[in-house]
């Protein structure tokens, strides 16, 4: 089961749906395949229609996982089953909701021969939306002033403090810019019905968004921050295209935040360069690699590779300054599946992903 340290690792990766709200799994896997010759990748899917399952050459093996809403015991049981089948010895979770469960299991997974690099629970809590203002203050980074909304009446005080427009945010996802009391109340009711209370009211800062990806070593060290500006965004505000930038202040600010958290693992720091005062504002801190992680790899910083090293207590590769001007445009393709894949997933909770087309059939068009 446990392989010797010389043989390439067998890495389990989740977050396998490259849909409208793109998940990071495919970018992480692509980076690992480039960085670790011979690596074996086991996909952990949550639905039989997770897109990566059908992408030739991406996964060596694939399993359905119970949803992260189950007890840690159930999750552990399944991971151990998969370990026994495949010999996974590294796990890279790519979804926020997996972290609370895996934090409970970290020690036991490690004992079971599955290495992972997770942030400390305290760091995870400290970067949560309601506490972001404290984090920014502690690190000397500007952030839009934020207050908690427990009732619709609280909007009045928020508007008095911040003026209009105002940003009303859900506790985990979604935000709306509102321009007056009526819009604010409507946003409050809509978001609270969807996500529950409390909501957040945030001062509106006009400007351009920049995102930085980085790897923290858990001791305050920050590796290969790579910054980008979104050039195409989806309806949900997600990057569909972006370009790497070289902005020392941007990198330095991200470094300061990641370091102050003593963050362990991958992360994304979202910032806004204000068009009024020119300062950088901290908007959000995501506790995992973003879906565009492969852009950093293409710019010279393979951070998922570093994450595997970190999990396995091995020295990290050197990270050069990333190249500016590298860009990506996401390209959606129809990944082809077959009835037998569905059957296998539905009845066994496992499927055999296709190898890369070149390996399968050197000649002629791909058969389905």
């Amino acid at each position: 089961m446990s392989r010797n340290s010389e043989s390439p690792p067998c890495v389990a990766v989740s977050g396998l749906h490259l849909g409208e709200n793109a998940q990071p799994g495919p970018g992480v896997i692509r980076s690992l395949r480039e960085g670790i010759p011979g690596v074996r990748i086991v996909g952990l899917a949550y639905d039989a229609l997770d897109s990566s399952l059908f992408m030739p050459g991406l996964l060596d093996d694939a399993f359905l996982m119970p949803y992260p809403s189950v007890t840690p015991e159930t999750c552990l049981e399944r991971l151990l089953e998969i370990r026994d089948e495949t010999g996974i010895n590294v796990l890279i979770p790519c979804l926020d909701v997996e972290l609370p469960v895996l934090l409970r299991l970290e020690t036991r997974l490690r004992e079971a021969g599955i290495a992972l690099a997770l942030p400390a629970a305290a760091a995870l809590a400290r970067r949560s939306k309601p506490r972001l203002m404290d984090l920014a203050a502690d690190t000397g980074v500007a952030t839009p002033a934020t207050r908690t909304l427990l009732a619709v009446q609280d909007l009045e005080a928020a508007a008095r403090a911040y003026g209009w427009p105002l940003v009303v945010k859900g506790p985990f996802y979604e935000a709306e810019v509102v321009r007056g009391p009526v819009e604010a109340a409507a946003a409050f009711h809509k978001l609270s019905a969807k996500w529950g209370l409390p909501l957040l009211a945030q001062q509106f800062v006009a400007g351009e968004e920049f995102d930085v990806i980085a790897l923290g070593d858990g001791l305050g060290g920050v590796h290969g921050p790579v910054g980008m500006r979104k050039t195409l965004v989806t309806r949900l505000g997600k990057a569909w295209a972006a370009v790497t930038v070289a902005d020392e202040e941007l990198m330095e600010t991200a470094r300061r935040v990641v370091s102050a958290l003593r963050w362990r693992g991958g992360c994304e720091v979202e910032m806004l360069r204000s068009s009024t005062d020119g300062r950088l504002y901290l908007i959000e801190f995501n506790p995992r690699f973003p879906a565009w992680v492969y852009l950093a790899t293409a710019a010279g910083c393979n951070l998922p590779l570093g994450l595997v090293c970190l999990a396995q207590n091995r020295a990290l590769p050197p990270y050069p300054a990333p190249r500016a001007g590298v860009c990506f445009v996401r390209h959606a393709v129809e990944a082809i599946g077959d009835l037998s894949d569905m059957e296998s997933l539905m009845t066994l909770g496992r499927m055999r992903p296709r190898p890369a087309a070149a390996e399968e059939e050197a000649h002629g068009p791909a058969r389905v």
């Binding site: 639905d47 039989a48 119970p66 949803y67 809403s69 159930t74 469960v101 908690t148 909770g349």
Partner: protein
């Protein structure tokens, strides 16, 4: 070769979001015995439904909480919140482990006294204390937290009549950043009412100032909220002392600590709830931080209920029927409903078969036995094909279910406690009709002698009021 066991033929359409066999199987985890006694044996001996409590688990929980508090505060005392579960046996275990009684009514007060708890080991809270109850509490030196100004006035009158000077604390409501904000109980801190009340007690000449109590909410899964309430309450205690010269006798951080139950609105499993040690850590460090390092910390009371007992209780129930609803969903009817499981309104209780049927797992609606549409225990839970007579265990149900259960349509079942040596003791017998009808009085003219024999129905006697037919 033996033929496979029959299960009802089942057809499920695979739809997105549900195409996860591993996900469907997730909740299924058989629990065929409780503290070493098979579920089938318990039901055969004591009937179904049946509340089962684990004394071993309860004592371990209390010890864990006491240790956690002792590690973080030099003078911390655990109080048992009676309303959570005031079965005598449950309360007795808490008191044997050294807990005070925390009661919120005269009935609960009386129950604690009857069990042998001295008045000065009872914390008397609640928004509706009567004059008689307060007189007794004063006489027996109970730890009283006043909820409103009328209560303070009443206590002043009682003090004057008795010619003594009782010690009276205050319930305080404060903003701990918790939703919903509980400001209906006690005196509000931020608006200055709490300080006014403290002044009234300290300067009124009839009462001594007791402790300061707050209770920020229920099922609070964020330990930091208790850190905030502890810091705020400690700062308020300092302000009171500075303003009135009277030093509060203690701080009481109330309850609301979560169990491993899962709220309907929670995404993650309740198994990820904070441990009691995390709450104790948040409270302890906030109080140390709030102190000046030289003045001794005020004694601390903590009122724990659900977090201690919820996970120690299971309800065993029996499948009565398995049916298909009009829209094709599978449903089961069991012999325990919301008459016994009030908490099913808010929590996704675990419903687990007591035997591994190994059958096809399907999302199933779990209905109770009441002839009421509202009687639903789970809207959807993954269960195998069950048969009438199959036993289920429903958990965690140690908190509130017994105290909030009702004689509605069905009588209440027995409660047993399994002692640490694995022996089951009946701690509340199953009810009989007399328990329901005992307090009833039927006016003479309504007696229905004539209905003894079919077909021999007589009109009520002329003694009754005139009737128009």
């Amino acid at each position: 070769m033996a033929r496979p066991a029959y299960e009802k033929p089942t057809l499920v359409r695979n739809t997105i979001g549900l195409m996860n066999k591993a996900g469907r199987r997730a909740d299924l985890d058989e629990e065929s015995s409780l503290d070493g006694i098979p579920v089938t044996k318990l039901c055969a001996e004591f009937g179904s439904p049946l509340f089962v409590f684990s004394e071993r688990r309860l004592r371990a929980k209390i010890q864990e909480a006491k240790d956690a508090l002792a590690r973080r505060h030099p003078k911390a005392t655990l109080c048992w919140s009676y309303k959570t579960n005031y079965l005598d046996a449950i309360c007795a275990v808490h008191h044997q482990e050294g807990s005070l009684a925390e009661v919120v009514s005269g009935m609960e007060y009386e129950k604690a006294r009857r069990l042998g708890v001295p008045g000065d080991r009872i914390v008397f809270n609640g928004p509706a204390k009567t004059r008689t109850e307060l007189e007794r509490a004063v006489q027996e030196r109970a730890i009283v937290h006043a909820d409103h100004m009328e209560e303070i006035c009443l206590l002043e009158r009682i003090a004057a009549e008795r010619g003594e000077r009782p010690t009276v604390g205050l319930r305080v409501s404060l903003d701990a950043g918790v939703h919903p904000r509980w400001d209906r109980f006690g005196f509000n801190l931020e608006s200055g009412q709490a300080l006014q009340a403290a002044r009234r007690i300290a300067r009124g000449g009839r009462l001594n100032l007791g402790g300061l109590h707050t209770h920020i909410g229920t099922f609070i899964t964020e330990p930091a909220a208790y850190g905030r309430s502890a810091a705020t309450l400690a700062a308020f205690a300092g302000a009171v002392e500075k303003d009135t010269g009277a030093r509060p006798t203690h701080l009481d951080l109330g309850g609301g600590y979560a169990s491993t139950n899962t709220l309907g609105s929670q995404y993650h499993s309740g198994a990820l709830a904070p441990t009691f040690a995390e709450y104790a850590e948040a409270i302890g460090s906030a109080l140390v931080d709030a102190g000046d390092g030289t003045t001794p910390l005020l004694p601390l009371l903590v009122e724990a209920g659900r977090t201690l007992v919820d996970d120690c209780g299971t309800l065993l129930a029996t499948v009565l029927s398995v049916k298909r609803l009009g829209d094709g969903r599978r449903a089961i009817v069991i012999d325990a409903g919301v008459n016994l499981l009030f908490t099913a309104w808010w929590y996704r209780l675990n419903v687990v078969p007591a035997r591994n049927t190994g059958g096809f797992i399907e999302e199933t609606v779990v209905y109770g036995p009441l002839c009421m549409n509202i009687d639903c225990i789970r809207e959807s839970v993954a269960l195998p094909d069950l048969k009438p007579g199959d036993r289920l265990s429903i958990s965690p149900v140690g908190a509130y279910c017994v105290t909030q259960s009702m004689q509605f349509i069905h009588l209440r079942p027995a409660c047993v406690m399994i002692d640490p040596r694995g022996r089951a003791h009946v701690i509340r017998r199953a009810e009989v009709l007399e328990d329901l009808t005992g307090p009833e009085r039927l006016p003479e003219y309504l007696r229905l002698e004539g209905m003894r024999e079919p077909g021999a129905v007589r009109r009520p006697a002329e003694t009754g009021p005139a009737r128009r037919d």
